[in-house]
């Protein structure tokens, strides 16, 4: 049974207000797919009943869960592959030369979902920098606390490790746990997870050398994207690197970033 327009409009407004995510009005099926488990969890016989429940209450934990559930959590290990090679083979060596090899580096995977991106970053750094990777720290944040909990556990199904992850890295950095695969401690130790809503004012975050903000801007309206990039400028070190999704660019939004080639890959740095 399709969702009535009034309920779907309420949901679209809720998600826009609290996460600045724009939901296509033609995509009510996403609400049905993504909220059905939550509706069931809250004892609702239908999605419509669940949305009426939300409308009947003032904003609270259940609304936050619904907003987080509507975000696109799709991710996989080494998604698009090129950014990780660019990071490990060009960006990090460049930063280490600039800072001195003993200097620690800080990276941030914003909108990390269930953790595949920050763990991919960690594995790429371990492969290329060896023991020096012990001095690198990766902050991984997301709007959705359920996704973060999964990420912190570092436990993945076979289907999840089958895609994108080189078999050699699977054997090197994961332990088989029955039907599941768990990230080994030397990778897990490099990543710390915390909740963060990119569309809200950011808490105090130490400046970072590298920021992965991939496949996030596309979900926001133009003004939100500008605000987000302004916050990125405050957090990213002057010679730091910003990685966006392959379909994304800060051009036409913020002229404070310049494109920079890292091998065959294009990332961005603040304009000096």
């Amino acid at each position: 049974m399709s969702l009535p327009p009034a309920e779907f409009d309420y949901l679209r407004r809720l998600v826009r207000r609290h996460a600045a995510i724009v939901i296509d009005p033609a995509k009510a099926y996403l609400a049905e797919n993504r909220l059905a488990p939550l509706a069931k969890e809250h004892g609702c016989a239908s999605l419509q009943e669940f949305l009426r429940l939300l409308q009947g209450r003032s904003f609270g934990a259940v609304h936050r869960e619904a907003v987080a559930a509507m975000a696109n959590h799709e991710t996989w290990f080494f998604r698009d592959s090129a950014p990780f090679a660019a990071l490990a083979e060009h960006v990090v060596p460049r930063l280490r030369r600039a800072r001195g090899c003993g200097h620690s580096l800080s990276l941030w995977s914003a909108a990390c979902s269930t953790g595949q991106e920050p763990y991919s970053i960690a594995m790429a750094l371990r492969e290329n920098c060896g023991a020096a990777a012990d001095t690198f720290s990766i902050l991984a944040t997301d709007l959705c606390e359920a996704a973060l909990k999964r990420a912190a556990a570092g436990i993945y199904r076979q289907m999840e490790v089958n895609r994108g992850l080189p078999a050699a890295l699977l054997t090197r950095y994961f332990t088989r746990r029955g039907l599941y695969w768990q990230v080994k401690p030397e990778i897990a130790a490099m990543v710390s997870f915390r909740p963060l809503n990119l569309a809200a004012p950011w808490p105090e975050i130490p400046r970072v050398d590298v920021l992965f903000l991939r496949n996030v801007l596309i979900y926001f309206a133009a003004e939100t994207r500008r605000q987000l990039l302004a916050q990125v400028r405050r957090v990213l070190r002057p010679d730091g690197f910003l990685f966006l999704g392959t379909a994304e660019t800060p051009r036409d939004l913020d002229d404070a970033f310049k494109p920079v080639e890292a091998g065959h890959y294009l990332c961005y740095q603040p304009n000096q």
């Binding site: 296509d24 592959s81 289907m159 392959t246």
Partner: protein
């Protein structure tokens, strides 16, 4: 480019053939290791997908035999198997497999593994807007 699919299951051969065809490969199939070697000698492929558990010569033995022959040095070999034990995976990689796909899998898994093995595959970046 040309691929050879080696699997004793007719349905698996059909699935992989379709997936590879859609990825731009011409595909030949074989149902056992011995036939695979015969096919390779007649029409050397750029890629071989190998099931592990087959009667007669199993996939690991086929892998080792292919890697023993220098004329096939450039051929990419990918295991496609229900063997999901880390030890088997490590042995296959050490014996010269370029990649390893655990069954079951989706077409995206196959395409990603082809890219990891250094083969050209059309990149289908579908960006879904909420």
């Amino acid at each position: 480019m040309h691929a050879l699919v080696v699997d004793d299951s007719a349905s698996m051969r059909a699935i992989l053939k379709r997936t590879l065809n859609e990825g731009g490969f011409a595909v030949t199939t074989a149902s056992n290791g011995s036939d695979a070697l015969t096919v390779m000698a007649q029409l050397p492929p750029e890629l071989v997908l190998i099931d592990w558990n087959m009667p007669g010569m199993n996939g690991f033995e086929l892998l080792r035999e292919i890697r023993r022959q220098s004329r096939y040095e450039a051929v990419k070999l990918i295991m496609v198997t229900t063997e999901t034990n880390k030890a088997e995976m490590s042995h296959a990689l050490a014996a010269g497999a370029n990649e390893y796909i655990m069954k079951p899998f989706t077409p995206d898994v196959v395409y990603d593994k082809l890219r990891l093995a250094g083969l050209p595959v059309p990149q289908a970046e579908a960006v879904e807007c909420v």
